[in-house]
């Protein structure tokens, strides 16, 4: 694992999540694939990203709500997967990395709240320059602090995740088919549950069932 790559990705996804552009490179599917490619585990990174993306479909960053942060957690978990021994890159490593990401997203989310509270100290300090110059200076400082936050969250997360996977993965005592089954069941529940964001079963059941019928037909005809 390259700590430099992890730090760089951390800064970028930390910024993309809220502060800069929001072009969605911080989405799990995108950054999981990218991080996996850069860290030498492209297939695992993409799969982890896809599964974590399903878990983040229904997370809505609305207003001043506190929410778990996906991008930095994905980078940390993918980095941990890349640093674990190759033998643990299978289903066990994937499930452990996903569980770690689901925990680390909360830590990352707390870092966002902490950052937003502390940025007030910068923004509302007494002015020493003309207002328009002070405005630019403070806005840029806030942006820089958010990038730093992303770097720290990713580096610490990558370290913690690596320790977890290296320590735990060798003890995995369940068959791969059962592990993958657990992942399939979990992701199916969450994917089906994401119907809520489009209005839920009561409003969308016709369209949903039409989609399910088309999907089943495609499957049967393959």
């Amino acid at each position: 694992m390259s700590w430099v790559i992890v730090a760089l990705l951390g800064g970028i996804v930390g910024l993309d999540a809220t502060s800069v552009a929001q072009i969605m490179i911080s989405r799990p599917l995108v950054v999981g694939t990218l991080a996996g490619f850069l860290l030498g585990v492209p297939v695992q990174g993409a799969l982890l990203g896809a599964l974590f993306e399903i878990f983040h479909l229904s997370i809505l960053p609305i207003g001043a709500a506190r929410y778990p942060e996906a991008g930095t957690a994905t980078v940390a978990a993918t980095a941990a997967l890349s640093a674990a021994p190759a033998a643990t890159h299978g289903s066990a490593g994937l499930l452990l990395a996903l569980v770690f990401a689901l925990g680390w997203e909360r830590v990352a989310g707390m870092s966002v709240s902490l950052f937003r509270r502390n940025v007030e100290r910068v923004l509302f300090a007494p002015e020493r320059r003309p207002a328009h110059r002070e405005l630019v200076r403070r806005h840029v400082i806030a942006l820089s602090l958010d990038a730093l936050r992303g770097v720290i969250v990713c580096l610490v997360g990558a370290g913690a995740g690596t320790l977890l996977l290296r320590a735990a993965a060798p003890f995995w005592g369940v068959e791969a088919v059962v592990t993958l089954g657990a992942l399939a069941i979990a992701s199916t529940i969450v994917l089906a549950g994401a119907l809520t964001i489009f209005g839920g079963w009561t409003t969308q059941y016709r369209v949903f069932l039409l989609g399910a019928l088309c999907g089943t037909l495609l499957l049967v005809l393959r």
Partner: protein, 238 residues
């Protein structure tokens, strides 16, 4: 202003929300309008740093309209009234259109490509291209509408039929979830000799998800963690 709008949320805080960012984006217009009047410029900057919120992609509506109002010499009271009137609706509209509509729809389309076996870079590229086409169009459109219509933006937003667009995206998203569920199950059970128990379990899982909705997320995450603990204990003890 358009380029600056990409960093409008950099100084998001719980006191003024995107107020500081709003002033930052508006600054080039304020500097031009209040050229040669440093006290008026400082007053304008302080006025616009106050509490404001909007979806980042639609903030251009307010920014464009306010820039026009300031250029026309509107009183601070008029500008403030306008900002207060639009901030709630621009936030809600954007959240519903993008965070609860366009983004998950694009993600589902990308996941569909992924689970159908496309090379791993294709879902990523498709997602980014699809999502950001809508994103950038929205940003550009919102500035155009704000600058052109000023305080008349409310009527323009109504005529844009954005709620119809939101309903369409929601329907498309629900269709995608329905489409994706059997296809992702098919991926998992491909090549299995005894797939029926797993198919039944996954069908039950889909029913549970439909029943409990987004509230199932946290219990599922905890259940996965519990499964991991049991699997590790099993391996350690055997």
């Amino acid at each position: 202003m358009f380029l600056r709008s990409f960093v409008i949320q950099a100084s998001f805080n719980y006191r003024t929300l995107i107020g500081t960012g709003f002033a930052f984006v508006l600054l080039p217009a304020l500097v031009r309008i209040f050229a040669g009047r440093p006290h008026a410029l400082a007053d304008a900057v302080h006025r616009h740093e106050q509490i404001f919120n909007s979806h980042p992609y639609l903030a251009g509506v307010a920014l464009g309209a306010v820039a026009r109002l300031e250029a026309e010499g509107a009183t601070p009271g008029t500008v403030e009234k306008f900002k207060t009137a639009v901030r709630g609706s621009l936030g809600t509209l954007g959240d519903v259109l993008f965070w609860a509509g366009w983004r998950p729809f694009c993600a589902l389309a990308a996941l569909l490509l992924y689970f159908e076996g496309a090379p791993i870079w294709i879902p990523v590229v498709c997602f980014l291209l699809l999502f950001n086409t809508g994103h950038l169009l929205a940003r550009a459109w919102s500035f155009r509408v704000g600058l052109r219509y000023g305080t008349g933006v409310a009527e323009r937003l109504r005529r844009a039929r954005l709620q119809d667009l939101q309903r369409f995206i929601a329907g498309a998203g629900a269709f995608m979830i329905g489409l994706l569920l059997p296809l992702s199950v098919g991926q998992y059970t491909q090549g299995m000799t005894r797939a029926l128990p797993w198919l039944l379990a996954i069908a039950a899982a889909a029913a549970i998800g439909l029943r409990f909705g987004a509230a199932a997320r946290t219990p599922v995450a905890l259940a996965l963690a519990a499964f991991a603990v049991v699997a590790l204990l099993w391996g350690w003890l055997s």
